[in-house]
């Protein structure tokens, strides 16, 4: 058996992505999308419309929620549209070019309404939909209200603007129907989420749906979800009895794919003059977009829960708000609430340090906890002070501080552990195939899969083949998101391997690789886990600026507690990519809207994307302490997207003397720090 190296396959054009699938008689689908952020639909002529597909989206995947039926996203718009890019009608042809031509043949008569754009103003604006009392979708307080007598009170207003997830491969699907069963090939983070979506929205029986993952060219949270375009593709395949393909264009992606971030933080921090934080209050306001469900609805609470970070803060009261606006619904983007929480808190701690003329790390040290701590908002933190002491030393904070513009930030990573994950190991023909419930989309799960089975079963990693997702091969599964795969997928695989070992021992009395490979074995495991499992991380960044106020990131060091590193290539790759995305959020990436609700960043150049010339070399230093999970791993994927924006923002503050409150940082603001020539 020859092991095909996945990276080589991808970079030499041998990948098999969803757009590479071409089936006989295949139809191509294209969408007519709303040009208005908010409008009543008076009439539609032509195309597939809500008259044909009168369904509403179920909420599945990361950040799924129930309820809010009234505000559920329709598959195709009915009576009104709530955002620019909302699918209104669909057209199709045997030819992809013609399908796009047909978009113009559909006539939609709209009555435009005034759009609700700014989430803070939306809270007091007239309700978006009749029958609503306000535009506030979710409204929760975390922590008890408190009063403290604090000599130092600092207030801050922060914005993390929306950003496109922008995987290299946009969304896409091929759907086929043989009269009994719907089969879809899709670019996804979870075949099981997709299957559940079809079953719930189209009322299909689980036996009647098979979902197969194609090579997936990046996802970053977006492809954990289930979307209207998928339903229309499946509906058309079933109606016509022919395969149907839909491939998202980059323009559609920027306009109508769910973006991440889009959160406002209004913070008030109380401290004494020695730098001890006495309490924190604030509002977390998520710009949810025009419909309920998913991250747009739930993430305000998740962010509010994490506000206290690695600190021992005994008083905290956070108002978590999710607010309707006339924008595409917000979704999870790598980090998904975690970077926002860290940004709001760490910016406040740096302000406190400046107010007291203290070193920012000293303030952090004073407020770190010596013992495990549960914050008033519900965040579980291990003893963070020893970690901080080691991080400062390992990253040579003091050395960097003497040399230049250094920023330091740290955080608690809250991986999406629940409800666990599945794995299956199939041994036959002297080869080993592995499926995980979370389907990798560029992270190279094949590497840690090989490492685990080499350790657990003593087999040559060359014979271990990681398989893409397929609901016929693995009956249940969760998904690859939320920094969970090495922890949950890895643990499920360890348990499945141990079960397999036991099976061999039971049959032969003793385990050996030869006995394993001589037989045919099938081991499935659902590793259930219903608790959070947090870990600590820190980032240190140095920058320089030029005469145009441009920021160059010189050094980016990560100091993370990853537990047992299952595969070092996986870890360094995840770190580099995540740091690049953190740099992107801080300096370059943002989806911006004008006051009428039209997106003004409609090309990838305007929406911003990080290029090789903008990133430094990365260093990943391990703070090792094995987890108590079977895989011994801790979370990683999102860590650099949390630590990089906070450390980078601080480094820029040091370099420019400016206060950083919003991402992406406006170049016009940065140049204001540089004297006129």
């Amino acid at each position: 058996m020859i092991s095909v190296d996945l990276s080589e396959k991808m970079v030499t054009g041998k990948g098999n992505f969803v757009d590479d699938i071409n089936l006989p008689g295949m139809l191509h689908l294209a969408f007519v999308r709303s040009p208005y952020p908010r409008a009543r639909i008076k009439s539609i002529k032509g195309g597939i419309t809500s008259r044909d597909i009168d369904m509403k989206m179920a909420s599945v995947g990361e950040g799924a929620s129930a309820g809010f039926e009234y505000l559920e996203h329709p598959v195709l718009a009915k009576e009104y549209v709530g955002y620019v890019g909302q699918p209104v009608a669909a057209v199709y042809s045997e030819n992809a070019y013609e399908a796009e031509d047909l978009v113009d043949t559909v006539g939609v008569d709209y009555e435009p309404l005034t759009a609700i754009v700014d989430p803070e103003k939306a809270m007091s604006a007239e309700p978006m939909y009749p029958g609503l009392k306000s535009n506030i979708l979710a409204d929760r307080y975390l922590g008890e209200d408190f009063q403290v007598d604090a000599p130092v009170v600092i207030e801050g207003h922060f914005v993390n603007h929306r950003i496109a997830t922008d995987p290299i491969e946009p969304r896409g699907i091929v759907a086929a129907y043989d009269g009994k069963r719907l089969t879809v090939w899709i670019s996804t983070q979870s075949v099981h989420t997709i299957k559940q979506g079809f079953c719930e929205v189209m009322k299909l029986s689980p036996d009647a749906v098979r979902v197969i993952q194609t090579d997936t060219g990046g996802a970053f949270g977006l492809k954990g979800g289930f979307y209207p375009e998928y339903v229309v593709a499946a509906w058309l395949a079933m109606k016509e009895g022919r395969p149907v393909k839909w491939i998202e264009t980059r323009s559609e992606h920027l306009l109508a794919s769910r973006p991440g971030r889009g959160v406002v933080g209004r913070m008030k921090l109380y401290a004494n003059r020695q730098g001890r934080i006495l309490g924190i209050k604030g509002d977390v306001i998520v710009d949810s977009g025009a419909f309920a469900g998913g991250s747009g609805e739930f993430s305000s609470r998740f962010i509010a829960m994490q506000i206290t970070g690695p600190y021992e803060i005994n008083n905290a009261r956070i108002h978590a708000l999710s607010v309707l606006t006339n924008k595409v619904p917000q979704g999870p983007y790598r980090g998904a609430g975690r970077p926002e929480a860290a940004f709001f808190m760490e910016r406040m701690v740096d302000r406190l340090a400046d107010e007291l003329h203290m070193d920012p790390v000293d303030v952090r040290m004073i407020n770190a906890t010596r013992e495990p701590f549960v914050s008033p908002t519900g965040l579980t933190v291990e003893a963070s002070k020893p970690f901080l002491e080691q991080a400062v030393k390992a990253m040579d904070y003091n050395g960097h501080r003497k040399k230049g513009n250094v920023g330091f930030g740290w955080f608690v990573l809250v991986p999406a552990t629940m409800p666990g994950e599945t794995a299956r190991i199939l041994v036959e023909n002297r080869g080993i195939k592995v499926w995980l419930g979370g389907t990798a989309h560029g992270q190279r799960h094949d590497l840690f899969v090989k490492s685990i089975l080499a350790d657990e079963l003593g087999v040559d990693p060359e014979i271990v083949e990681w398989q893409k997702g397929d609901t016929d091969q693995l009956k249940e599964g969760v998904g690859a998101w939320g920094s969970r795969s090495a922890m949950m997928g890895g643990s499920a695989l360890v348990e499945a391997a141990r079960k397999l070992r036991e099976q061999v021992e039971k049959k032969y009395g003793k385990y050996s690789v030869a006995r394993l490979l001589d037989g045919k074995w099938d081991s499935y495991e659902y590793f259930h886990y219903d608790k959070p499992y947090t870990s600590l991380g820190a980032n240190l960044i140095t920058v320089s600026t030029d005469r145009y106020g441009r920021v160059k990131v010189d050094e980016c060091i990560s100091y993370y507690d990853l537990g047992k590193v299952l595969n070092m290539d996986n870890a360094t790759g995840q770190n580099a990519g995540g740091c690049a995305e953190g740099i992107g959020q801080t300096l370059y990436e943002g989806l911006m809207f004008d006051q009428n609700g039209q997106m003004i960043t409609s090309s990838i150049a305007d929406a911003g994307v990080v290029k090789a010339t903008m990133v430094p070399r990365y260093r990943l230093i391990l703070h090792s302490s094995e987890s108590t999970l079977p895989s011994k791993a801790k979370g990683l994927g999102e860590a650099p997207t949390i630590g990089t924006p906070v450390a980078l923002s601080r480094a820029i503050e040091v370099a420019t003397g400016l206060r950083i409150t919003d991402t992406p940082i406006n170049p016009e603001y940065l140049i204001s720090a540089v004297r006129e020539p």
Binding site: Y548, A605, K611, M614, E668, I671, P677
Partner: protein, 289 residues
Amino acid sequence: MMPPAFEYYAPTGVDEVIDLLEKYGDDAKILAGGQSLIPLLKSRITAIPYLISLSGIKDLSYITESSNATRIGAMTVDSDLEYSDTIRKRYPILMDALSKLADPLVRNMGTVGGNISHGDPSNDLPAVMLALKATFVARGRGGNRNIKARDFFIDTFTTALEHDEVLTEISIPVWKEHSGGSYVKFEKGTWNFSVAGSAVQLRLENGAVVEAGIAITSMGPKAMYIPEAEDYLLGKKFHKSVISEAADIVVEKSQPSPDTYGSVEYKKNILKRITMEALENAFRRSGGM
């Protein structure tokens, strides 16, 4: 991202191109390297029923040097210029622009003639040609016609080319001893259109400016040359106050619009700084400092 239907022609001679342009009128457009036109078609910003590719014409790609000019065939790709010893020796200002013109993949396909005749105020080569005082050769039914770069750019996407004319050659004069130039481009990110670009070409005698070419990118409806700044520099030697004042004149004459790249104030701020940098480079390269 699929273009609307079009008919595609790839004739082997310029005369056939002119025939097709005459036949189809405004429904036809010339396709050179396609690096601007194809994205416009794919995003359906425009639709062109008849595309006439110049790729089949063999003799439009060349770089030849004589003692008083450098002649460049309009279909020469940007990367051929980038790797040309002649260009490197004679026109550092052009090398500056080429190294920042989009990315290497685009430069391998994009042509010099396409970059110029598209008439996009954000393209980099028009300002460089204005600063270098180049001349363009257009071929029409009646034969060749020379158009000075300074008479060529009329408005956004509008040039002095008649509908049935083809840009065939770019002729750049040789700037004599003690001359040098620089193009400074300020991008949001990299490999992007510029917020602003500034092209400066100088010739000095005894350290003082005797000839100057100054032009700017992305700062108005078209690539603009700034004669007031050129005149101001005549007779002046390098001094910080001189380049600052010249840059102020350039900024005053610029006509930027606010967009996602920045406000008018920001663009002018950037233009001031890049023009000073380009002037400083030009003085240094011509031995004036």
